[in-house]
Amino acid sequence: MTSPRILAVDDERANLHLLATALRNEGYLVDIATSGEQALERAAEVPPDLVLLDIGLPGLDGFQVLARLRQTEGCLGLPVIFLTSMEEIASKVRGFSLGAVDYVVKPFHLEELRARVRIHLQLARSLKALAHEQARRLESLVVAQRSILARPADLPSARFSVHFQPAQEAGGDLYDVVEVGPGIHGYFVGDVSGHDLGASLVASAATALLRQNSGPAWSPEDTFRMINGALADWLPPGRFLTGCLVRHNRNTHSLRVVSAAHPPPAILEPSGRVTFLESSGDVLGAFAQAQFGSLERKVRPGDRVVIYTDGLLERAGRTLVESLNTLGQAISRLTDAPLEDLPRLLADSMAPVLGADDVVALAFEA
């Protein structure tokens, strides 16, 4: 087995050499960089297995470097540990929200850092193995998963309703609602590329993976990363799905939206105001490493969230901008509709186009 490669980034050369030597003595391959730009160059040349990143750097700072790494192919899922003298909570929160796995304040003990590096390398490897293992067992999971559709009556605490209209028998649209914890639900809508028997198989696989990888210990981004890892292992080339996962926490009145290249969900306030919640991310299952952005916002009781598939958007207009406008207006007109009718009324309010795609519209109330 080849040794893990660590990229250490710090503009203080004395620190950097101390750190590099300590890690090399442990058996790691160590690359070093003294600026943000240099770090990005090194990472693009030879993707490391882990990055130790200072925040206060000349030029691009550590936050900017991490943000750019998350856009660099081969570095999307890379564990990054901040190593910095900035100990304010705000900068820690910013680091973690950008996707850092750990945050170590200087001065630190080498022994502690070594332990953290070990843990995060093991964790990254275990996650990869877990995704691989799930891909291997997917066939049997799919069989068990088929024909299980979440029904509003079975999960009343989730307060949702759904309109599901497959265009063909072998559709590729899917939805699911899972209880993540008491008062916390995940609402998922997805769309598999293609319209053949394979598409419905992939839809079942995605649902099975969603259920396996949901829970309080998983952020919605983690859930998507696991689904992506397993599907990328399993799917034939050219097959992928888009999806949107909205986690609603009724204890804290907050939403977290993660999108895998999916049209943005809408939030409808009792006043009739409609806002689209846009966050960007890769498609699921096409790339071995993928990146998923997330968006968080507060909601008030009575607010409703509508998640839908491309099929509904296609009915709304020719261009993306035009479609979203039309859809937003249609949702706003349904402000007073009962929750259980909203998805169906929304789908019916837009004339189907010829050779139309499947349509899923799912709504839930905060």
Binding site: P237, G238, D282, L320
Partner: protein
């Protein structure tokens, strides 16, 4: 309709109009042959109005094959709406947009 132009060191594929389910198979074959020729692959979208999800899948598959050779799929001539679509799908991070 799909145009195929041989350039120096690469092959340019130009799908036109709406690339739906029926046209996707032709596109996929053209991409596979272009990849098989051993050089770069460029997809010219200047005359393309829409791409089905399967067509996008074919582009991604070709891109992933090219990645194993250390290059990427080049996409040129995308209209403003097509660029928006590629951005929404996060593909601008993967493909080389010209």
């Amino acid at each position: 309709m799909i145009g195929i132009t041989t350039l120096e060191g690469s092959i340019r594929i130009s799908p036109t109009g709406n690339v739906g389910i029926d046209e996707t198979e032709t596109l996929q074959k053209a991409l596979e042959e272009a990849f098989g020729a051993g050089g770069g692959v460029e997809v010219d979208l200047s005359a393309c109005r829409s791409l089905s999800s399967s067509a996008i899948g074919a582009l991604i598959a070709c891109h992933n094959s090219l990645r194993s050779r250390g290059t990427r799929l080049k996409v040129s001539g995308a209209t403003e709406d097509m660029r928006k679509l590629l951005r929404m799908m996060g593909l601008d991070r993967h493909f080389e947009l010209a």
